[in-house]
Amino acid sequence: MKAWIPPLIIAVMLFTACRREESAIHRRTSNEVAIRLEAEPDRLNPLLSTSTYAHQVFNPLHLYLMNYDPTTLVLVPQLLEESPRVQRLQSGPFAGGTRYSFTIRKEAVWDNGKPVTGRDYETTLKLVFNAFLPTLGYRTFLESIREFRLDAANPRKFSMVLNDTYFAGLEALTNVVPVLPRHVVDASGVMDTIPLMALITNPTPEAQEAAFPGLKEFADKYLSERFSRDPVGVAGVGPYRLVSWEAGQEILLEKKTTWWGNALAADNPAFVALPDRLRFKVIPDPVTALTALQNEELDVMQSVAPDDFVRLRTDSLTQAHFAMYTPSSMSSYFIALNTRIPVLSDALVRRALAHAVDVDELITTVFAGFGTRTATPLHPSSAEYNAALKPIPFSLEKAGVLLAQAGWQDSDGNGILDKRIAGKKKELRITYLANASKQSSLVLAELIRSNARKVGVDVVIEARDANTMLERLRNRDFEMVSAGRSITPQWSPSQNWRTDSDNRSGFGDAQTDSMIDAMEREPNQSRRWVISRKLQQAIYDQQPEIMLFCPQERLLIHKRFEAVPTPVWPGYHPLAFRLIKR
């Protein structure tokens, strides 16, 4: 026998003997939730952050005047004592407008013991309208404000007037930005003498600099690290405070020891805050994150890759320690078609392309079945959804018929349809813009390309990085592009479907604009939904977007916590995680 064989056998035996055996005992037992972040936030400032992941981290620090209940998706008072009084104004300087009167809870106090007042919210709005801060995106929701009035007798009372009646007006006024502490963000009172309406009516930097010379300097200070990473500078009235932020590693939040909201939690789910600590760990690589999860270094992981999720369903170690959830996420995927370009200006061609997309195959192949088809921009589970509209079925035959009806035929026998447009032969060739860094986007592109080719449409795939894609979308420099959007509890089509809005596909006309206007101004929900369903029908008929599906979130939550998934991103509400005592 060769001399090296026995030592080799012993080495293999030793190696296999050193395996750590599975155990059902949880490795961590503290009341601390460890959450994975795919990328590090840029800032923890709700007005300045541009990172999606920042929201997960700064939300426990702040409260809104009203907020959506994560389970029922109903807008409920949070900092407010009750829903505001709403009054339509028939006369006076704001005739035709709507006055909202608010009262902040008497229990709500800042960390220094001082009460939360209307002045705090006014200061927050002044930050939004400071032209030197990159808060432009919030102004669309709030620029209809025509008056902000503080109650001289009661600092917790204030009112705001909007210039019209908007069904989403309450959401805009109470749920767009949280209430920030005036004594922190404007400790020296720079904005005290600047009326909010002056900032709203003079929106350009030049006008504001001329009228209020100190505003630019104030904005420069507000953009500093202090209000983005410092525990004092990012503090809010919420149940948690920032303890530490180790760059590239983790962010630790700790529950405030004497938080006023604790007394209200029993009767009001908006104030439930059970974990002692929230530890957000930055782990960009999904394989590394999954390994950390299986080692119980994490308690929650969202957006698990579909194939991994399916595999973990049969992994005994994972099943021993983790519960798996697939809540519907309030988001949808679609393919936008730029109707401004001649080839895609014909609704028949767009409908034909919709028939050429095998969405069921896509859900099965790329998302392992975790998705629900949708036919409109709304979630199919929404009561507002037009259930009469069925998802466009995959049918190459129907696609061919529609293209023929639109006048496209293969006159030269090269397999690509063509048509004479303005005297010139034009081939049916469309460029598809895909996200080069997302595998699912590339697979979708390839699926579309291969099916479209079978009906004579030549789809050319252009893969670009995410930043370039965003810029091209903004400039409407695309023909076909896959995209996603989050679905809000209340559908407000004016942002994306009005002809003069951020309407990427170029959908619509005066008739759909007036439908949207009527919807926006209809306070009665039933009547509004009737108009909404008509609008959904119009979108469905025109097919400016090929609606794909609403994905299901894929979540793993440690069994040491009792947790209920929610449809609101990221699919769980960590503040409601209850530690199960063993």
Binding site: L136, R229, N467
Partner: protein
Amino acid sequence: MSGFLLKKILSLLLALWVISILLFFLQRAAPGDAVLRLGRAFSGEMYHVHPLAAEAIYRAEAQRRGLNLPAFYISVQPAFFPDTLYRIQYPEALALQRALLLETGDWSKVQAFYGALTRCYSFVAEDPSDRESIFWQQRLSELVRVETLAEARILWKTSVHRLGRYRHQGQAIGNLLDQLAVSRPGVMSWLPTLRWQGWDNQYHRWFRQWLRGDLGVSLRDGRKVGEKLGEALPWTLWINGAAILLAYLFAFPMGIFLALKGRGRLGQLLRNTLLVLYALPSFWVGSMLLLLATSPELGYDFFRVSGWLALKQGGGFWADPFAWMAQLSLPVICMAYGLAAFLAHYLQHSFSAVLQEPFVAFARTRGISGFRLYFGHVLPNALLPQVVFVAELVPTLFSGSVIIEYLFNVPGMGRLLLDSLVSQDWPTVYSFVLLIAFLTAFGLLFSDMLLQWTDPRIRIAASQSPPS
């Protein structure tokens, strides 16, 4: 020697300056606009619904970043280009005016046309919303985005019948379009003109700041770049330093063994193993180690992927050296194995080559043998070529590996570079690349000096070479 040193230093400084200029222009050529990437500030909503407000805020932000200055000391443009084109920062405004200028060559008319467009837009935007004002806001926004004069004229022609109450403002636009249609740049005006833009330009500001040690502020999170590099550097130094040390600890005995005793089957097996190690890609090895050594699925989870923070907070290496070694081991192995294989192979060849030298045979005849011969005479000569690697090792020590740090979640320089590139955080990318360029230059200089010092043949040759 001092003359040589001075010449070397001057040429390296010149190289660094050229690298800084190339870097500066490369980032300007990269797709994407750093100001527009302020996310919500320039969401499609604001961009299309309130373009004038978006433009005003863009200009204010661009001014804050110094983007309202000329890019460089000189500009090279056709003669009909104005020397103040850099003052137009808003991308759409710049793209439109530049496109029309290239077609027509008449800057004053192009400027007047754009001015008429924006005045008309402001006038229409102040009107109450009705079908006509909405139409004209849209049409004027589309006009700003045209790429050619012909496109603009077609768009105007198809809309002019709807001017209505905007006839007066619209007339100026129509007239200017007609005037632009008959303008063409003269042939001679295409000749490139060199223009001095002054000392106050973007590059000069940035480079002067950098020389003063102010690396700037990160565009991503507003933190000082120096601080970010300072936080990331220790982790990279630990991993790369340990990897280099481990690589040499392995390579030295292996290389010498192969040179002295490597003729048999064992030697062949070891050489093949080294070849395989050298060929294995580190991202694959890292992924395998991650799955095999940290994942509990197979039961061999002796290492953890997170724990860097615990090390940092635990009080330094000597407070808990075993924890440090455990945490560092996987990434260090990934960094070291390829380098170790290469160094062992290289040392084996240089050692074998020196063994053939006549002086070795002479030493043997004088009775010098064994340890004294190999380590006293052969090894110092075999190590001489290794001095060249110093030039590469110095920047390697600081630069970090993007793949290894990403896989093992190390908050080092490699991951910082990747995050900065993805988020187009150019001040951080600049500083990082310039730092590595500086270290490479320093490494080259140091290895040259070391070679001169260790190899008397080079010193003698240098002193005997005729003055240039």
